[in-house]
Subunit: 188 residues, 2 copies
DNA sequence: ACCCACTACTTGACACTGTCAATGGCTCGG
DNA sequence: CCGAGCCATTGACAGTGTCAAGTAGTGGGT
């Protein structure tokens, strides 16, 4: 396999586990056992428990940024962006569940992680700037960006972890709902 | 003190801990030690670790519903509701961090918990129904409710756990930002 | 007065976890 | 050939949730 295949194995298994059972039940020793290695083997590739969450978040934000960037060049950028945001969250539960958990990985003392996270957010900010034009006030841009981000993030988390599905009835077509929400809230 | 004061002590200490350090670091034995009792004493009031999260979520949703209900009678209900939602999240971090974590407390096999959670959501649904009028289609109501809920929930989680504060600059006045977002997104 | 049941709590033990430490084997450059 | 480097192993430790059994204190019924 590729260099340091155990690292990759552990990473994949962890992401998958988190997608299914959440981040907190993740056990170093269990993934080690599942990979057929000793309980200390993963430790050689990840300094500690936090390190693996950092790696997942880093990978997540990288792909996240790419997905958002691809959507931001669509004709109706704000709507495409929101849909891409939610789409990513649903198709990358394992990553998404970690990316926004400050207690699992702290951005504050991690320039690289902060950089990729910022890059993702910059896509959104650029989109808002283009939408509102050159002479929009900084406060307007800030409010608009916060609205869009909140909407996308809230919808994502409610769909993944929240009771949304139960409360508003079965979601036959998630895409339709997401699109309706986008149209409803982002109409200019 | 009131009957079963230890239960209350443990509950308060847990909520406070979660508000500061998140739900995952919470240790039964630590709160027991802090309360000056043996490591098994709390076990008498909460069957297991999940039980305490359930209790926190129950308490949280109860107060949450009251806060929303109070706001829903305001003149501009949708905006007041969103502000109340975020306000609750910020002033009840400990509860809020637990209430929407399905892995910590599952609503599915818990009628009582589900009931209070539903009651909170019903306030929102009623508000949307009043806003859109009698002859609004079920899909419109659903989309509108989902939008409002997503916006409120996303803003709350981003303010509490997320990197929002860092990204859009220091938030001098949270209320102003929240109000701006509400106006911007919920204008009819 | 006695006993009995019940509640609130304690102590002791177990398996499991993350983590530190020391050890063992492998490959590769000199 | 051999030492240095990485990769992985085994062993140990404290801390955690949880099961099991034991111990005050309290209150009611006969």
């Amino acid at each position: 396999m590729a260099p340091s295949s155990l690292r990759e194995t552990v990473l994949r298994a962890s992401v998958e586990f988190i997608a299914e059972h959440g981040a907190d039940g993740l056990s170093f020793r269990q993934v080690a056992a599942a990979a057929g290695v000793s309980h200390q083997a993963p430790y050689h590739h990840f300094a500690d428990r936090k390190a693996i969450f950092r790696a997942i978040a880093l990978e997540g934000f990288t792909e996240f940024g790419e997905a958002l960037r691809a959507a931001s060049s669509a004709p109706d950028a704000p709507i495409a962006l929101l849909e891409a945001y939610v789409e990513f969250a649903l198709s990358h539960r394992g990553h998404f569940r970690v990316m926004f958990r400050r207690d699992l990985c702290d951005f504050d003392n991690d320039a690289e992680l902060e950089a990729v996270a910022d890059a993702s957010f910059d896509v959104l900010l650029d989109c808002v700037r283009r939408e509102l034009g050159e002479r929009a006030s900084i406060d307007d841009i800030r409010a608009r960006a916060t609205s869009m981000w909140s909407l996308a993030h809230g919808l994502s988390t409610l769909l993944i972890d929240g009771p949304l599905e139960d409360k508003i009835g079965p979601i036959k077509d998630r895409r339709a709902l997401i699109h309706a929400v986008a149209l409803q809230s982002l109409r200019s």
